[in-house]
Amino acid sequence: MSSLAIITIVASVLLGVGVLAVLVWVGHTSYLNFIERRLARRKGIYRELVAELAAREHALLEPELHRVATLLDFEALEAVLEEQARGTTDRPSWLLEVYDRLGLLDKYIDRLRTARRWRERAFAAELLGRVGNAKAVPALLATVQATRTEDGDVREIALRALARIADPRAVDELVASLRTADPWLAPRLADILARHGVLVVDPLVTFLNEPGRHPARAWAANVLGEVGATQAFPALARGLADPDDEVRAKSATALGRLGDRRALAPLLEHLLADPAPFVRARIAGALGRFDGPEVIDHLVRGLGDPAWWVRMRSVEALEQIGARAEGPLLSALEDADPEIRIRAAAGLERLGVPDVLVTLIERGDRLPEVMETLAKFAGAGAGELMSELLAHPSGSVRAAAVAAIRRGAPPDLAMRLLATVRDDPDAAVRAATLEALGAEGAGSAEASLVAGLRGARDSGERVRVITGLGEFPDEHTRGTLMQIIHADPSPEVRSAALAAVRGMLEAEDRIDLGRSALDDPSLLVRRAAVGLFAGMAPERAFPPLLRALRADDDPAVLASVAELAEAAFPAFADLALRISPDGPEALLVAQVARYVHHPDLPRLLPALARSGSAEVREAVAALWRHRPGVVDGRALEELTLDPVVAVRREAAGAAAGAGAWPLLARMAEDPDAEVRREAALAMAGAPRLPGAALATLAHLADDQEMAVRAAAYVGRLLQGTPVPLPPGLDPAAAAGAVRTAAELPVLRETARTAAGEDRRLAAALALALLGDDVARDVARSDPIPSIRHRVSGALELSASAQEGE
């Protein structure tokens, strides 16, 4: 055979394998879809039957079950039951009963024991977790313990099933398993036992009291604590003297959880005496749940423990005890370890100690003592607390903070904090700050700040230094700041420099600088640039500001301009009425006006709404859409007849916001489908429509354009009219309209909880178009059968439409 022939054969094989793989995939997915659809059809009648079972009293289940057991299509019934089991995380008693009485439980237990394929066993174990009872526990335990023969995933699923079943009749069996459990299994079994509540107490106490060093005894102690078993107190107290470290530690935690004061004596005794540091740490943690001088006294001694964790847990326990433990916590501020110091400071802050100190400083009461404490906080590295005190409105508090920092804080922290208050309004505090900075006068302070600015690589540090430089308004400083504005890479620094230089420039220079800074790529800087126009005569500020502003600038910048406009509204209004309504400045006025809330604003807008520029008219319509309170009816009517489609679309939104239903009725006849759709969507999103508007929606529902019909249909649903999906309407187009018009959280809430059946159904039908989970919930669990049926139908319709795509 020639090489070429071999190559051809290999190529053919590769091609054949590829084509075959694709064909197999197509066949497989078609088969899956087919059996799913077939089963879906057969399940229909059983849904009602199972719903009736769910609604029956327990005593009346028997005759119904007899009837159910005679059914021919058992597979379809099982499918419906499985849906119920999967549809809830609860385990309804009727369902467990039905599974047991129909023999399904035995079927799955048998499958778990004997099925050859792991998937079947795993599936059986999982379903037993959902619908099983104590009867399933032995089989599940046997699966869990078959470490040598059973598949790991199946064992894991069986463990989870045991956790879910939590049948009281299975307690003895589970405790017996805990006694022989391997170390990996013991915590899992403990978790499962804890879900059984107080029923597990007696057998676990017996187990804990047994001699020996079985590691699972520690888990018994843990469970006793978790279930709050007060009768287990003696056994747990004895556990503190157990030779096993783990038993002692878990007994201590459990005693803490019980909160029984009888536990105090043994806990206090072992806090200082136990040889294992982690047991001592656990005991300290447990003591946090108690109170009393002897507890605080022992925890103070715990603060001197050589083990870090014991000290940390002692600090946490003291904080948990509260105000009575403030003294010891203050002493923890001097711990050798910085983490413990900062933990103690955070604890004291939560207890409100700094607030008390502030009050004392303001009253001038016990100052030496207060200063001592503040210095301890500073020494502990409580930087943020000291920052807050340095920014306190009271000068005496700020001065005390400066003094405390100088006394107690490490040098780097002191520099960082003091740099934040260089612009303090109080001259005495500034003087103290400068003194603390080591500067001997204003000149040398400025020089050191400029030098610091050159050396500071971190932008935050540069911002702080620049803030300090603002204190020294002279030619030299201004030059430095201007350089920074033009050259610094950090927007924070540039904007800080703009703010600092503001007071050093004449009005004309500020305007020039502001205009150039409005071209900066950073939003922060552009906002700061707007600030440069503040504080000068508005007639002088607004024209250049509007000329430099970009209409598509960030809303935050436009809002900053709006703040200026609001503060000097007469001048702004005067300018707005003077400028040409067709020019680019008119567009800027309309954009800025969106953020202005002055009562005289409405009188500016009609002129702009009649602008010759479509952009301006569109901006005004958009403004009205978001601010219906300032709408001018006549001008809006003109906009609804505007020759430009984009303007009419915005006007439709504005009309809906203002409740101008007759205008919208006219827009329903608009020649452009986009406008008609917008009108429908705007009405759909309105809170509650009057009859006339609903009639408009109904009219739009017969529109020749699919997109309009879809929007109108969704509008009617959102307004609470549960109309069925009209024939020929594309569910995908309707789903798109739901996404646009509806607030989904509100819609979901309505579908779940609305009192009116129509509103609930209409909301669920809208959600069903999206295949939303809440629609599925409604289809499964709404109390009204007709709602469940209609929503199920809508869900299937939208799912099949998606498949069709």
Binding site: G18, V22, W25, E78, D458, R739
Partner: protein
């Protein structure tokens, strides 16, 4: 002179032809082997995925707390949406630590506004050395019950790995998850990964599949429907992800030899990572990292380096622990949609791969490293690191010899070889791609209840899979060679000493359909 040239070329052809043919056969067989292994794994994991009782995690007191670390560098476009998504994440005990890594845009401001941040002192344990911390902030807005706290660390720029190290230092939970600020998590993601940790105490790290969000329908920061990206470039990447990540990593995980957990989403045991020295950065001064890779060095692919180092650490210390991987998608990320962005990304990945492999070359062919030293690392060296050089040389040589045949009128290439070469490189490659796509799109059915079909990437439309199969064929003709070239450029950049990240500009996730243009 001409005779000499001809002789040299003939010799070159004789030597090179079988070498390249063998290489392509070996490479595609290796990939097909991983696809086959992953098919087995996927079948089991999809079943497991279906029958997981994740709600039990909510009920158990043994549920382990977790810290979500989000490094953010100039992420003002997506940061608030990402963090809001994380806050909604369905897990009973977790904290979120966002590390602003010297951001120069409005990242910090947007966070401060959205979550009402307040500066605070927290117990910060400098277990791993990092760049300087400027401040820490805690969110004061009302948080859902499962969220312990939302913390923001503002630090000087040190790179993503450095930001992760800062997050580890601030973390108060025994486990942490590394996240990208611009990715979307699956609602069950945390529970799924933590369930692996919870159930198998040997697991020190677990990662999940990261799928492509372009083209998917996104609602409320969640992917609700998988779709096909609109742009061809993203579709090619989807095929590539399915071949290299979905099936490749799953196959390696089947052999317990996973070498990369995507930085987009992976859970780690904090203490073990600290003991292994933390993520590799020039700031780290740990004896173990200095012993393994030398001091003062970093990497641009910290997600691969940390996994390889953890394997090395665990095996050196004889810990019977493992690193696990879940094949189904747990997170979604946006992939580049322009050639320039993709070039930068591939160049960076390749430089990172090179760094990790070179740092840990001591693990090669060492018995104590088991399958890592004998299979996974050699395969990465041969197919991932040297692959671009060999493959492009193969294509280049064939082209060169064909041209020289025309110039010199001498026959260098055996036509049988040419066909065999095209078959081994392109035909076999097409088959491997198609198998990878089918493994990703295959559906399984469990139980009788409604709509229980499950698959790794459950496309809602069959047409999408058929289109993807078409792209699986086309991927071998142009796109693949282009990515090889970009990787080679990455190697060139590495030789020139380039170390930057070259992050590509994200569009940001939009509600509705994710970034997909055209």
């Amino acid at each position: 002179m001409k005779t000499t040239v001809v002789e040299v070329l003939i010799l070159l052809a004789i030597v090179a032809q079988p070498v390249f043919l063998f290489y392509f056969l070996l490479y595609n067989s290796y990939t097909l082997w991983l696809v086959a292994l992953s098919a087995l794994r996927v079948r089991r994991r999809v079943a497991g995925h279906f029958i997981e009782d994740l709600d039990l995690i909510d009920l158990g007191d043994l549920t382990k707390p977790l810290t979500m670390i989000v490094p953010a560098f100039n992420e003002e476009v997506t940061i608030v949406e990402s963090v809001s998504g994380l806050i909604q994440c369905d897990y009973p005990r977790h904290e979120i630590v966002i590390v602003s890594d010297g951001s120069t845009d409005g990242t910090l401001e947007r966070l401060a506004r959205a979550f009402a941040l307040r500066r605070t002192d927290i117990p910060y344990r400098g277990a791993i050395a990092t760049a300087r911390i400027r401040g820490m902030y805690v969110a004061t807005v009302q948080l859902p019950p499962g969220v312990m706290q939302v913390l923001v660390i503002d630090k000087e720029n040190g790179g993503k790995a450095d930001a992760l190290n800062a997050g580890i230092n601030a973390s108060t939970a025994p486990y942490f998850v590394s996240l990208d600020a611009d990715s979307i998590l699956d609602e069950r993601a945390l529970k799924e990964l933590m369930r692996v940790v919870q159930e198998d105490p040997r697991v020190v790290a677990v990662g999940g599949q990261v799928a492509i969000a372009n083209g998917c329908t996104i609602r409320n920061s969640r992917v609700v429907e998988i779709g096909l990206p609109a742009r061809s470039l993203a579709r090619f990447q989807m095929v590539e992800y399915l071949r290299s990540f979905t099936t490749g990593r799953t196959g390696l995980d089947h052999m317990d030899a996973i070498l990369v957990l995507s930085g987009v989403f992976a859970v780690f045991e904090k203490d073990t990572v600290i003991r292994a020295g933390g993520y590799l950065t020039p700031f780290v001064r740990h004896r173990l990292t200095e012993e393994y890779v030398g001091g003062g060095v970093g990497t641009v692919c910290e997600d691969m380096e940390i996994v390889v180092r953890l394997h090395r650490y665990l095996r050196d210390k004889l810990h019977q622990r493992r690193i696990a991987f879940l094949p189904h998608p747990v997170a979604w990320t946006e992939v580049p949609e322009t050639l320039e962005s993709l070039r930068k990304q591939r160049g960076r990945w390749y430089r990172g791969l090179r760094e990790s492999l070179r740092y840990h070359r001591g693990m090669l062919w060492r018995r104590k490293y088991g399958r890592i030293g004998w299979f996974a690392l050699p395969a990465f060296w041969i197919f991932e690191y040297l692959g671009p050089i060999v493959e492009l040389s193969g294509y280049g040589l064939v082209l060169f010899l064909v041209v020289m045949e025309q110039v010199l009128k001498v026959r260098f290439i055996n036509s049988d070889f040419l066909w065999a070469f095209l078959l081994a490189s392109l035909g076999y490659g097409v088959l491997v791609n198609m198998c990878a796509v089918l493994v990703g799109a295959w559906r399984f059915r469990f139980g009788l209840a409604d709509r229980l079909q499950r698959g790794l990437l459950p496309f809602s439309r069959r047409r999408d899979v058929l289109v993807l199969l078409l792209y699986a064929v086309l991927e071998n003709f142009g796109y693949r060679q282009l990515t090889l070239y970009w990787r080679l450029r990455g190697l060139w950049d590495a030789w020139r000493g380039k170390t930057g990240w070259e992050k590509f500009a994200r569009v940001g996730f939009r509600e509705g359909v994710a970034p997909a243009h055209g």
